[in-house]
């Protein structure tokens, strides 16, 4: 199976672990990803805040470049939920509004490009893995089942809502990631907030708003004794992982829940060495959780400093594994 691939800015750096693990599991599943040549940023939630036509033209360039790829089966895969949303949104609105399509194409023409709406189908990586590859084919590759690992499946918002190119799972209580994790042998815990928001860019706009949203998710996963929260979006991973320490300081809590990408857990179950899956890039040490399934994860590349305030109440901690 061959697809166009749009990594997006996050997967180049901040979410490099997602990119590495996606590539590592694609090979055994016989998926071939062809990266869109010279793609640009999707605009995140920022471009459309300031300039509507510019936002669609920005995305339109990516769609036009993807449509030019000779052999991608007219499908473009985005692992990042925000990129997935923006790419599918522009395509959908260009289809719905010929007037918008005309303007976007007039802008694209200034760069010698053209995009016919509907000519590329935008897919999220999870959709491709569960629906095109399928659970059975994934199960066949599992050599080290994640027996005993308690996983909270976190979908976030944008892959299930609003479904600009149709939905592949329920917008409020999806189960495809749950089934995928069970296929890997993991114990999936109930996670009622599985499609609640991580706060997106609110960490930059209003920290107290963002921290409350992050706290709710961490508490919900902790309430169900999850060893790990598994995610499919770089923004969700960054907010829950990199800000976990700051959230703990803000609320005087003591959560230590590692946040891994679903492709990293797939890779572990396939027997791929953790290092090749980008494990060790996370802020919250994943080693105690992964030791439960006998995976020896590399030490974190930059050990986290202990910054618990002295006045904080004593809280139970996950035992340190050295």
């Amino acid at each position: 199976m061959k697809y166009g691939y749009y990594p997006g800015c996050s997967l180049e750096r901040n979410a490099i672990a997602y990119h590495k693990s996606a590539m590592a599991v694609a090979a055994p599943l016989e998926i071939e990803f062809v990266e869109v040549e010279d793609w640009n940023c999707c605009g995140a939630t920022e471009y459309i805040t300031v300039d509507l036509l510019g936002a669609h033209a920005l995305v339109g360039r990516n769609l036009a470049l993807a449509a030019q790829q000779p052999d991608n089966g007219h499908q473009l895969v985005a692992p990042c939920s925000a990129c997935f949303l923006n790419l599918s949104k522009t395509d959908r609105y260009m289809l719905d509004s010929p007037e918008l399509a005309e303007k976007v194409n007039a802008a694209l023409a200034a760069g010698g490009l053209h995009y016919t709406p509907g000519s590329v189908r935008v897919r999220h990586l999870l959709d491709v893995i569960v629906n095109d590859v399928g659970y059975d084919a994934v199960a066949e590759k599992v050599t080290r089942p994640l027996q005993g690992l308690r996983v909270a499946p976190y979908y976030g918002c944008l892959i299930v809502r609003p479904g600009y190119q149709g939905v592949f799972d329920d917008p409020e209580y999806p189960t495809s990631l749950d089934k995928l994790m069970r296929t890997l042998g993991a114990k999936v815990v109930d996670f009622p907030l599985k499609t609640h928001c991580c706060g997106g860019h609110m960490t930059q706009i209003s920290q107290s708003t963002a921290f409350e949203l992050i706290r709710r998710l961490l508490k919900n996963a902790a309430d169900y004794d999850a060893d790990v929260i598994v995610t499919l979006c770089p923004m969700c991973q960054l907010n829950l992982d990199a800000y976990q320490d700051a959230v703990n300081r803000h609320f005087k809590t003591d959560y230590h829940i590692p946040i891994l990408y679903f492709t990293q857990l797939m890779g572990l179950a396939f027997g791929i060495p953790p290092k090749e899956l980008g494990i060790g890039k996370e802020f919250v040490d994943a080693r105690p959780a992964l030791a439960k399934v006998g995976a020896e994860a590399p030490a974190p590349e930059a050990p986290r400093r202990k910054r618990r305030p002295k006045e904080a109440l004593p809280m139970p901690r996950m035992p340190e594994e050295e």
Binding site: C197, G199, T209, K281
Partner: protein
């Protein structure tokens, strides 16, 4: 996007018409039942000065200044919960983006409690226009120095960790055909006006 609705009206366009016309597709805003499902579903609702339902009532009442001064659109986290649940299928998230653009054009956002949010977006766009890709270090540094200079010290350890883990670039990455992208965006601005 101006739609046909503005040209077929026998009366002068109201603020409601303006908002609808500036939103792509048909946002169904005039169908709002005031049921409050949106506000009840909103994760950042408690920090908004008006819930989305309330804001839509203000729009229908033509209270433009009040609406464009509101922090509500700026606290929208773009999670699409309201949109998925709205019984009238109103494109609420798109409308929040429309209101943000209108607030920037009218300069009224400066009076809301989210006055720095538009500048965050503008800094992001500026970087994308120059490099074609987002650049987190540049974005965070510029934003923090401008709005939270004292917090730079607080946020620095995280930035350092991101750098050391290889999760952040020190310098931006530029796409090869940046001139092509610039030409496209310049044309879009010319065609779209400020919106």
């Amino acid at each position: 996007m101006a739609t046909a609705t503005t040209t077929t009206l026998a009366r002068a366009p109201t603020f409601l018409d303006e908002v609808i016309a500036a939103t792509p597709g048909d946002p169904h805003l005039e169908l709002c039942l005031q049921c409050g499902t949106c506000g009840g579903s909103c994760p950042s609702g408690p920090d908004m000065d008006h819930t989305p339902r309330h804001l839509f009532a203000l729009i229908a009442a033509g209270m433009k200044d009040e609406v464009l001064r509101s922090n509500t659109p700026w606290y929208c986290v773009s999670c699409y919960y309201c949109m998925a649940r709205c019984p009238q299928e109103i494109h609420i998230t798109d409308l929040m983006y429309t209101l943000k653009r209108m607030a920037i054009q009218e300069g009224l956002y400066r009076e809301s409690s989210a006055a720095e949010a538009p500048e965050f977006s503008e800094t992001f766009i500026d970087l994308v226009e120059n490099y074609g890709r987002s650049f987190e270090l540049g974005l965070a540094t510029r934003h923090y120095l401008r709005h939270h200079p004292l917090d730079v010290v607080k946020m620095a350890p995280m930035a350092l960790d991101l750098l050391r883990k290889g999760r952040m670039d020190l310098t931006p990455r530029r796409i090869k055909k940046i001139d092509q992208l610039k030409a496209i965006l310049a044309k879009a601005r010319e065609l779209g006006g400020a919106a």
